[in-house]
Symmetry: C3
Subunit: 152 residues, 3 copies
């Protein structure tokens, strides 16, 4: 293992970078969606934000169901995508089978896309729960392989 | 410093990976604990989740004290464990003393385990505050050493 | 690209480490500010924390405007600084122009400092929105360059 793991010349790292960056950008998109919902519903979280909205209708509230749904989705991304990035980064250091690794990255990314669609439409449960669980187990699978490699 | 820092052949990085991954998995476990509390108390955060619970009792609420306690613990992990991972990753690049580094990683990890126990039982204060502060200062200690190395 | 990217001998990585660590420490400082506001206003989030405050006035509440303002600022940091760290780390792997990279890191860091000042004073809008948007676009700019390099 004298080759450089963390370089784009390593196809496993390159694939990880692609899916980890795509997942992170997807998570960042939740901020835009929150903004759009805030302006559509004229609800803000700070008094000084009121002049940004429609003057007569804008108000401060933390209970608008549409805005809070996007916020919960965003927080759920933070709770799942960032651990994927951390565990995935370390998993790459174990020099896993390239195809196995690629499928972990792909399945995670698409499970989170599906989770977001299921959350925002919303689709009836257990749609969102399935998307969530697949992503969660993908990260756990990488963690298990990582700990096996570390403790060997 | 021509050796490769970020490889499992570097024992400092290997130790960091172990404790950073263990801390991240511990953080992920808070999701399972939230789920368990939601089903035990029949409280959910989305109307479409109601059919997953006990049909006659399940309701949407954001004020259940047991569920919210786990949620606060989870968010506190996010606020502390992810900075530890970031600062720790960079700290490893400074090629610190191996034993000093290992103790930083160990103390951080066990301070967060203790913090979680103190939060969930709960233990009387200042138990949780002590667990929190030890973890926080461990990350700050690595940050101070990092900035010293960067500005040298 | 046989040189080691992720080592402090690479000035692009070194600059990234400096600004990413500075942004992370700034984010961690929000915890101290939350604590300070909690003790100043005697408002806590757990019943067992009451004895830490002024005994006759301390109470549990989640609606104190000063504390919640700091909390929102902290969460906004998490939503923006951690994606910057992830995308920036990967962007460094593309071996970008050193000066271009440095300005991305600098602009991001100072936009978040300005965002925090605008949030906490608070400054009238669109001050905070401008600070936020500049930081957001800096990360997106790095992501665009990253995907271009990956798909080349």
């Amino acid at each position: 293992m004298s080759a450089i793991i963390y370089a784009l010349t390593n196809p496993i790292f390159k694939n990880f970078v692609f899916y980890a960056a795509a997942s992170t950008v997807k998570m960042m998109a939740m901020s835009l969606l929150t903004s759009r919902k805030r302006f559509a519903k004229n609800v803000f979280s700070n008094p000084e934000d009121i002049p940004l909205g429609n003057k007569n209708q804008a108000k401060v509230t933390f209970t608008d169901p549409d805005v809070e749904r996007v916020r919960r989705n965003h927080l759920n991304d933070i709770e799942n995508i960032l651990p994927f990035v951390v565990i995935g980064m370390f998993y790459v250091a174990t020099n896993p089978n390239a195809m196995l690794a690629l499928w972990h990255f792909r399945i995670f990314f698409f499970s989170r896309i599906f989770h977001t669609i299921a959350y925002q439409l919303p689709l009836p449960q257990p749609s969102r729960a399935i998307g969530y669980t697949i992503g969660y187990l993908t990260t756990i699978s990488m963690a298990v392989q990582l700990f096996r490699a570390l403790l060997k």
